[in-house]
Amino acid sequence: MEPLMEYFQRRYVLIADDNIDLATSLAILLKLVGFEVETVNNGRDVLTAATNRRPDVLLLDIGLPGLDGYQVARHFRNDDILKDVFIIAISGYSADMFSARSTPGDFDHYFTKPVDFNTLLPLLGKTA
């Protein structure tokens, strides 16, 4: 685990999900492997948090209250500072529905819940 932790050190992941248990547990897991993590539970707070500190990776639930995941991603892509953030969509809906409704280029990756941590980690590694 140690080299891995160094590898992820100081990389900042922002998790946005209105299921607090889900966001928190994922945050603990990512902290365990060395990430710096913050969680938010609605769309507006994503923008605030990201403006305060630019995340390297955004794990973004689609069905967020306030602004939904599609809108949040659009904001990021239109923002000079946030436009290159690696955005991973995470949703309980099927991949079909996601690809039908999302704008190409807004998201870098898509996962259907529950996300296998062992699949997520290598992807986060690639963003380093």
Binding site: D18, N19, D21, L22, T24, S25, L26, I28, L29, L32, I62, G63, L64, P65, G66, D68, G69, Y70, I90, S91, G92, Y93, S94, M97, T112, K113, P114, V115, D116, F117
Partner: protein
């Protein structure tokens, strides 16, 4: 030539020839009475040729029939027929030529004919009578003395025979005309009947004079009475504005002869009602090909249009239901994946970290999210039970105060988590209702949960209850996001929340309020929702019939059974993980645990160890839990053991079944450990 050289053989065949007999029958002359027209011609022939006898003789298969017989002696004259044995006439059938006999006694064809003696036929002159190319008989004159027939005489009889044939033809044509007339009358009356029963009108439009003639039904199709005129302009005016351009185009195309007319349009009747009419017609042309008139039918198609409309509505409704179903399934998947994701994260965390805080956190998360999953499944089952009308209330006269307190407590964590304040203002002790406490609490919890979910953090939620006349009124009010006025009527509809135009903001299946409404209505109550609009909060009001407060509340005695603090428990389940999990927990709680994975083993263990409590899965392979329970009750050793059914099914009828099989209690999977430990405590309840 014919197949035979003997003319007699040919004759026999010709006499019986079906085509010839049919042509004869068609004349309609056989066995018909004498007629002056035929008698006149026969008399003329007799007079001109100076013969005592003249006959119009028709030869069928067995006899010759005399349509006319002048000068024939009795009894033949009255009989008007003679057998073929006496027939001279039959011989013209074979030859199709005049038969000229000067002296029959010398003629090879007839010299042995009995008519010579019986009817004194000596001289004979016969002309074949042919109709439709078939010889049906002969026109003949007969003399009792030998004659020498001259060519002039033969020619004269030939001419007269032509007149007889003309007479026959005229007659058959007249018959045919009469028949056709009858058929026409019959067809017309059948058509009238059809038009009448189909309520079909007819119309006829002269394209030269522009006169339009319409039947009464056609007029009534357009809202006119039979004495009102029906003109082209009147017709156009009767057609609804919206349909008139199409109608004009179709009529013009048909009048030009380009196509048949076939159009449906709406008409407005003088009473203002609108009716559908279908009109079909086609053109008649003159010899130059110009269209001169158009005629056709009209009929009312209101019923069909209504049926089409109903069908269309039904199709749309079905499509909508289908869409709702698909949306619901997508939502369901979404709702199941969220807790599943949280649980799998927690499991992952437990496998990665030994730290106590991580263990505790994971355990809490799994517990919470498992509860959430159970609630989702409960909701799903409730909806299916509601759809099937299978919800059973366990009603009792109860003060709703306890129910409301309990509901407020249930949502406590959520309310605190969102930093809301919950004001409870209830008229304690005066809220007696006849209700199922569990179901009523479910209703109130649902409304309070909604209020908490749909309010910004730090909101104010009010729960109030009091008696108003004969009703107990419970209100849940919040200052949250509110409800758009157009959404208010749909609030209690199934799947109301599912809206594809936006992503979902709050979790849930969108069935909670539908369940709430059904439950309230099962209690003979009503529920209403009001909101000033979006962002202005909302209020839900439940009204239940008030019940009379009972004279005194009798405490329900519980049957106390002496169970030692430390209990020996036998856990029976074919799922090894389930057994192991239960065993660990029961051990932790200080109980002694025995295990079995099938019925026969369970019975053997029970027999030898005599456990006080048996937790028995119903769905065991082979020998079911019911069988095991029955068996154990019969065994002397386990007669007093507490046998608890553990089942995935928890409905009323399932509980009745286990009770009947001898179980003491019924637990539903996943087993609530609070409930289980209560059961194992000395003051546990029983059925």
């Amino acid at each position: 030539m014919n197949s035979s050289d003997d003319p007699q053989d040919d004759l026999a065949a010709i006499l019986k020839d079906a085509t010839r007999l049919a042509a004869l029958a068609r004349t309609g002359l056989l066995d018909s009475p004498a007629e002056p027209s035929f008698d006149r011609l026969a008399r003329l022939a007799a007079n001109f040729l100076g013969s005592p006898v003249a006959l119009v003789s028709l030869v069928d298969a067995e006899r010759q029939f005399f349509k006319s017989c002048i000068g024939l002696p009795e009894p033949w004259a009255s009989r008007r027929e003679a057998p073929l044995s006496h027939s001279f006439c039959k011989h013209v059938l074979a030859t199709r030529e005049p038969l000229v006999i000067n002296d029959a006694r010398l003629h090879p064809l007839v010299k042995d004919n009995p008519a010579i003696a019986d009817l004194s036929v000596i001289a004979y002159l016969g002309i074949p009578l042919a109709v439709d190319d078939q010889v049906i008989g002969s026109f003949c004159v007969i003399d009792g003395n030998p004659r020498s027939w001259t060519d002039d005489e033969i020619a004269l009889l030939r001419d007269l025979a032509e007149s007889v044939i003309t007479e026959i033809r005229l007659r058959s044509e007249r018959d045919q005309l009469v028949r056709q007339g009858e058929e026409l009358r019959e067809t017309r009356s059948r058509l009238q009947f059809a038009l009448k029963s189909a309520r079909m009108g007819t119309w006829d439009w002269d394209l030269v004079t522009h006169v339009l003639a319409a039947s009464d039904t056609c007029k009534s199709n357009h809202g006119l009475t039979s004495d009102e005129p029906f003109t082209y302009d009147g017709w156009a005016a009767a057609v609804l504005d919206i349909d008139r351009p199409a109608w004009r185009l179709a009529v013009a195309e048909a009048a030009a002869g380009n196509s048949d007319l076939n159009i449906e349009y709406r008409t407005r009747w003088p009473d203002g009602s609108v009716h559908w009419v279908c009109v079909q017609g086609s053109c008649l042309r003159d010899t130059t090909g110009r269209t001169v008139s158009m005629s056709g039918v009209s009929f009312n198609v209101d019923d069909r249009k209504q049926a089409e409309h109903d069908l269309q509505m039904l199709v749309e409704q079905l499509q909508e239901h289908d869409q709702q179903k698909n949306d619901f399934l997508a939502t369901l998947a979404h709702e199941l994946r969220n807790p599943l994701a949280a649980i799998s994260n927690a499991v992952m965390l437990m496998s990665m970290s030994e730290a106590k805080e991580h263990r505790d956190y994971s355990t809490e998360t799994i517990k919470r999210q498992s509860n959430h999953l159970s609630r989702l499944i409960d909701d799903l089952l409730d909806i299916s039970r509601i759809n099937l009308g299978k919800i059973e209330l366990r009603r009792e006269i109860i003060d709703a105060t306890t129910i409301l307190d309990s509901a407020a407590q249930t949502v406590g964590t959520l309310v605190e988590g969102r930093k809301h304040t919950l004001d409870v203002a209830i008229d304690r002790g005066n809220l007696w209702v006849d209700a199922d406490p569990t179901r009523l609490e479910q209703v109130v919890v649902n409304l309070l949960t909604n209020a908490a979910k749909y309010s910004e953090n730090g909101g104010r939620i009010q729960l109030s209850a009091n008696r108003e006349d004969d009703m107990i009124v419970i209100r849940v009010k919040d200052a949250g996001i509110g409800i758009a006025p157009e959404k208010l009527p749909e609030m209690f509809r199934l799947f109301n929340q599912i809206d594809h135009s936006s992503t979902r903001s709050e979790g849930g299946l969108g069935i909670g309020l539908a369940i709430v409404k059904q439950l309230v209505e099962l209690h003979e109550g009503t529920i209403t929702a009001t909101s000033e609009g979006l962002g202005k909060g909302s209020e839900f009001t439940i009204r239940l019939p008030a019940a009379t407060r009972p004279a005194s509340t009798i405490p329900v005695p519980t049957k106390a059974i002496d169970v030692k603090e430390k209990t020996q428990v036998l856990v029976v389940d074919d799922n090894v993980d389930t057994v192991q999990g239960m065993a660990i927990l029961l051990n932790l709680a200080g109980h002694e645990v025995l295990t079995a994975h099938d019925g026969p083993t369970a019975i053997a263990v029970a027999r030898s160890c005599r456990p006080q409590v048996i937790l028995l899965d119903l769905g065991l392979p082979g020998m079911s839990g019911y069988d095991v329970a029955r068996h154990l009750r019969e065994e002397q050793a386990c007669k007093d053991a507490l046998i608890v059914a553990v089942s995935g099914y928890g409905q009323e009828e399932d509980r009745h079944r286990t009770e009947a099989a001898g179980f003491d209690h019924h637990l539903v999977k996943p087993v609530s450990y609070d409930e289980l430990f209560t059961l194992l405590s000395p003051t546990r309840p029983r059925y």
